[in-house]
């Protein structure tokens, strides 16, 4: 296991310490908890946004804490949902009196832990509501299963709901717009290499030099299918057809595009993916309103990428355009 760490047991604590040391202008850490909140939390009168999940997805989630996005990021152990008491502390620390929206990715563990925290907060008289993000089209949706996972599309929920809250939206309004994003966002991912959970010390799966995993999530879990290595354009073609089959679009529709690296894949390759994505959209007469290429929702050192499309209307466009100032997502 080749990692620049000191001790697998404390990677999350040490990471958060390094993060608040880097960005004291943006964030502070709650003493005794792996929770990062806005440096100026609680912001009086503003609806507060709390997100989080297992660690290993950096810059998610603490990197999105700041003006115009999240009020708190709660960090569980690597790839493990945080516990209700942590989330509860986060809620208490950021509630500015206007209520708190929990942005949850659709994993059984995350949903249960956040819900328990929400119940705890409500018992203390804090107004709490939640949304569950499920953008991953790799997973067949079915009433018999838990539905789709939440992956990189979650960052759009942070951005847009964050802008609405920053603009003074009520808890209900912020929730409504968050759900609009969730309804209109779809992603799909793949991986070329596995990753190693520090405390496990071994790769989560093995894969041949000429193979890749399609339908990869962000937790080192195997994808939905294994195939021979494909060219970048073939990967994009496959993703786009899955996404557009699930969320049909027409000429004149507008989208935001996110090409997200899982971390081991260099930016060069992400741009090569984006080249094809933009060609396909142009070919269909779909207008690209904004594109984001980078590492937004990672999976430790895994090589791989995902593509996310968010269908936009005027409201979403203006909220996407609103300024944001966080360690990992800035917009002037």
């Amino acid at each position: 296991m080749k990692k620049l760490i000191n001790n697998p047991e404390v990677v999350v604590e040490e990471m958060l310490q390094g993060m608040v040391a880097a960005y004291p202008q943006f964030v502070k850490k709650l003493e005794g908890f792996n929770v990062v909140v806005r440096a100026d939390a609680p912001v009086k009168g503003k609806v507060a946004l709390v997100s989080g999940g297992g660690s290993g997805h950096e810059p998610a989630h603490a990197g999105y804490v700041g003006k115009g996005m999240l009020d708190a990021g709660v960090a569980g152990a690597v790839f493990t949902s945080p516990t209700p008491d942590q989330i509860f502390e986060a809620i208490k620390a950021v509630d500015g009196g206007a209520g708190v929206l929990l942005i949850i990715k659709n994993y059984t563990g995350d949903v249960m832990n956040f819900q328990m925290a929400g119940e705890m907060a409500e018992m203390e008289g804090i107004k709490v509501d939640s949304v569950v993000v499920n953008d991953d089209v790799a997973v067949e949706n079915s009433t018999y299963t838990v539905g789709r996972r939440g992956i990189a599309g979650t960052v759009f929920v942070h951005k847009i709901a964050g802008a609405k809250a920053q603009a003074g939206g009520t808890l209900e309004e912020v929730k409504v717009v968050a759900e609009k994003v969730i309804k209109n966002v779809r992603s799909m991912g793949m991986a070329l290499t596995p990753c190693i959970v520090p405390a496990a010390g071994k790769p989560t799966f093995t894969i041949g030099e000429d193979e890749m995993e399609i339908g990869m999530g962000i937790h080192g879990e195997p994808g939905t299918t294994r195939t021979k290595l494909m060219k970048a354009d073939e990967v994009v073609d496959h993703f786009m057809s899955k996404i557009l089959a699930d969320m049909p679009m027409e000429t004149g529709d507008e989208v935001a595009v996110m090409v997200n690296g899982l971390s081991g894949t260099p930016l060069m390759e992400l741009f090569i993916l984006n080249r094809r994505a933009s060609q396909i959209l142009a070919g269909k007469g779909i207008k690209i309103y904004r594109t984001f290429v980078g590492e937004f929702m990672t999976s430790l050192e895994m090589a791989g990428a995902s593509i996310t499309l968010l269908k936009l209307d005027e409201e979403l466009k203006s909220l996407l355009d609103a300024p944001a100032d966080t360690p990992a997502f800035k917009q002037l």
């Binding site: 152990a77 059984t108 832990n113």
Partner: protein, 212 residues
Amino acid sequence: MTVDSAKLIEIIEAMADKITENREYLTQLDSAIGDADHGINMSKGFRAVVGKISGMAEKDCGAILKTVGMTLVSNVGGASGPLYGTAFMRAGQAVAGKTALDFNDLISVLEAALEGIKDRGKAEKGEKTIVDALEPAVEALKMHREEGSRVALREAVEAARRGMEYTKEILARKGRASYLGERSVGHQDPGATSSYIMLEALTARLLEGKQS
């Protein structure tokens, strides 16, 4: 059989030992169809539990179980934290105030635990989860209740083992493994396995030195 608070603590410590012994094994099962953390999370949780309950021999059994549940909830995380946490908290409620548990109490404890898991996780048998080991165990316990605790417990552990084995054959419909669809078939469920391990530890401790 009777389990007083001291004995209950011993049982829980035995469970903790077994979970820790099986840390790598459970994690390995979870890497095949999940995210390679089940053993890590559970052993971290039980380490905290052991620290919390060691001085609780004066407390009643309900309080001890409730403490176990709360400690798991706030230390395990992931899916298994809330699930096992709720299970132990509900178990504690079922025997609130009691300083000793008889066999019927034990059945109530396990029934309550199972209900807790099903309420929290909304899973049914056959979905490749904890329920697949725990529910058959509870059923066996009730079915063999009249034959005495020794027989009933042995049947329960055996039922849990079969349930755990059966998870290899089925497709996951709940939890992280469900994202794998058909690819989840052929792999044993980590949560069903940890349930079996805990039940086995419980039974072994209860039947220790017991004649019939």
